[in-house]
């Protein structure tokens, strides 16, 4: 073939496969979103439209890429996995923009874009600790931002004054400032702002009592996911599973994911098996 003398360059492509049997978390960040949110005048400290747009894009990604969330045990090329998710997210973000910002069209010179990276967690506990870390972080940041922006927007402080006033304060102090100065009970703030959004495929909630009565330990439930080899599922089992997953509704919630309840009631999230669809026999 005419181009064979150039083909040696293929040798420069380096393998970047992920370690099998780990929980892969893909984190997506908006690029330059500080400037982007100024440009399109996002509300401070939280812009509901912008958050809902993010959630809509995330739901659409889960719809488009059924492997997500039960990605456990999947061995894949790192770059292919991450770029596919980021590209799909970008596409849906842009296409859904007009529904959330009907009077503010995107300008060609100021398009949103995202970067992403994958991190691998070998054990379930590592994964849950990662998720707990993010939710604890979300709470801390939101409490800070809510106080900070109220001081500025309603208290008339400058950025520097508000920053200084908040230095060294603990959670209790910020709650107190919000309540005494602005009449805000932080506990009544929207759950989305305080807890972030958790998106998953929805099946029938697993009643806690039945589970205990049935004597099933968590270990039994999670067995396949935690220990099994990824190759043991047959193709027809995979196809059946894929079909049930496609039927499942993808829901956006703002639940506590640090406590066990969330996970215990939804064993399908961490196992490799979809649950019962609501209303199914």
């Amino acid at each position: 073939m005419a181009n064979s003398k150039y083909e040696y360059v293929k040798a420069f492509e380096q393998d970047d496969s992920l370690l099998p049997n780990t929980w892969i978390v893909v984190r997506i960040d908006g690029r330059g979103f500080h400037r982007f949110s100024d440009r399109y005048q996002f509300q401070k400290p939280n812009d509901e439209r912008a958050l809902n747009l993010m959630n809509t894009a995330a739901c659409a990604v889960m719809k488009d890429l059924p492997d997500l969330i039960i990605a456990y045990g999947v061995s894949d090329e790192y770059s292919k996995l991450v770029t596919t998710i980021v590209s799909t997210f970008t596409a849906h973000y842009i296409v859904n923009w007009p529904s959330f910002f009907p009077t503010t069209p995107l300008e060609p010179g100021f398009l949103p874009s995202f970067d992403g990276r994958a991190v691998q967690y070998p054990s379930l506990q590592n994964l849950r600790d990662y998720m707990s870390w993010r939710q604890a972080d979300c709470h801390i940041n939101n409490l800070y931002n809510t106080t900070f922006w109220n001081m500025i927007l309603r208290g008339g402080m400058s950025n520097t004054e508000a920053e200084k006033a908040l230095q060294g304060t603990v959670s209790g102090d910020k709650n107190e400032i919000l309540f005494s100065r602005f009449g805000i009970n932080y506990n009544n703030e929207p759950e989305m702002y305080k807890k972030g959004s958790v998106i998953f495929r929805d099946y029938e909630i697993q009643p806690q009592t039945e589970k205990k009565a049935g004597g099933m330990s968590r270990e039994t439930e999670y067995q396949v996911g935690e220990e099994g080899s990824p190759v043991e599922m047959t193709k027809s089992q995979m196809a059946r599973l894929r079909k049930i997953q496609k039927k499942a509704t993808i829901v956006v919630t703002h639940l506590d994911i640090i406590k066990d309840d969330f996970w215990d009631q939804r064993p399908w999230i961490l196992s490799n098996k979809p649950g019962k669809l609501p209303g199914e026999g």
Copy 2:
């Protein structure tokens, strides 16, 4: 801090920095574009609108990310670099879609998405061989596809018949089929189809004669790019360079990049220095 017990999970983030001082090629592929091009009825074998849309998106990426093409020597996180480029490309592809397909709006369930990966080439020769390989490949594929689709669309063959008829043929055979059966002189086909598109920042073409008279060897020209350490440029030099680059027009061409001429006339592409802007002193 409240979430400190979870913070150990940061240790799972693995470094993925690229080797400095190499030429980084980021390849972008449409995901499932066979199906995508059917859905939106792209013309066979080449859809000019679709190709121009790709080029428009690529130009916009180069405009948004000024490091591109002179990325030589840049050390960056692999995943951040690749996902940023793919996300930016996706954004511009979607936003520019209506200009190229005004009567075929994108459907939410069938959005385009892309994946990407970075490959590193240590030497200039490796980089040029990679580019030569792609252009040689483009020619071979286009000759095949042009013959194949003429046999089907104008010759009335089925896919299988055309495939079979082309098995074992060399370039000369395909040229002959195109000419004798369909009156097509392959040499007269559009350059974009035969050579692909090469996009770069345009400065004043370097006259070949002057260069030889000046006694400068190619080695001198490329010296900085090939051997220099990336840290030696001062911040103000970088800023000046960035400014000139932003002024430069980004052009889409379909030139031969296998021969030396293309590179010899545009030393700024492989050096780390922008050239003279056309019409500049």
Copy 3:
């Protein structure tokens, strides 16, 4: 500093840290040991002296590097870990050579050397499956080699004849050949040849009944190892643990590691905690 202009080269050192909280298996292979074993006339199919020398070197490595076997959860530089183990193994192999081959001194031009690589297994089950795979492989190879070399050394066959005669045979066939032609009952072959060698720190065997009576599930035993974050142990706990480990005898055994018994009786191997020393309270 005089050499500062060269220091940018540090940027070329790429991070190669291992993923935390995984089981790291370091495999060591003799380099060119086919030729090496010919040179020093190792006996076929198994040379007891050579195997004992390997085991002695392996025990010494475990003595020198107390992190081994309980290496679980350790995050380390890949290359440092692997080269240290291989270098230590090589050192002990050479120094112990005269004890096992007293009449065959090593020749400077024919020194033994080894290579190694690390593989990471995220779950306990993956690790045990890896070990099971190696032991099953050891049995299959040893049965083949025992039959093959008896056919040659006692049956007078050539290598090619023996190879051909064994093609397509299953385990039963080889057992039959060994018994009927050479009067060998494969089951009576030394355990070291059939099962390989398993080397570990020896503590008091855990009685199975007591364990069940105590109601401890395996999950409880392994909890720290399987799920815990590596940072949670205090320095003084680490020091105490290290001290007990240093006192423990390192033993070479040829036990079945595929069945659960081996692991159930020695919970200290997979947990992060040393067991009771024999004869201790």
Copy 4:
């Protein structure tokens, strides 16, 4: 096969190939050599026997592994390359120990061991800068150590006093201290201590004049090494090259490798071609 259910564990082995066409530097460090050199009472600041032993081991490694030094362009598994070199080095270090320390036998509990890592440098200039950095560093460290140990061993200072006295001094100060207090002209110190050791295959020195007369630029000389694809050499060319390399003497020198002379006179070191053997036609 009986063990097929375990074989999925193969998927955990991750590829770690090095980028082709780069200069691979393998650095070997003694593990715990501070303690080791105390145990065997190495002389301060430089122990000639210990340095010569290192050089002897390094020469032997180059003899055993003919790919070394001309390793340019070799694509290899990272871990295999590094562990092989470290293991071979360890073997020769131990076997040659008695020649350099005839009255101090190695004790089994205090064996030397080494770790290593590979770093890749894409361009010749990067490689030379790395080597220059090491040699500049060697000079700086040796000047410091020579002054430090003379202050202690002959000046009667404590470690802390010497350390304090040297704080903030520049090269000139240390030269002055050595000369005025201890009558040592640093320039007359052994080259091995001041410059380190450079080990390479020795061919006929390339006369500088002839080179210039012949009009060959450095670029021509290095062409294959710098730009060529590694696949272009035929097997018989490789075999011939290997044969000449095996005949070449491996020499230990203490030359200046920062200036161009060293490299210009020995083009075979950086090219992929052995030079003329001394005395050859």
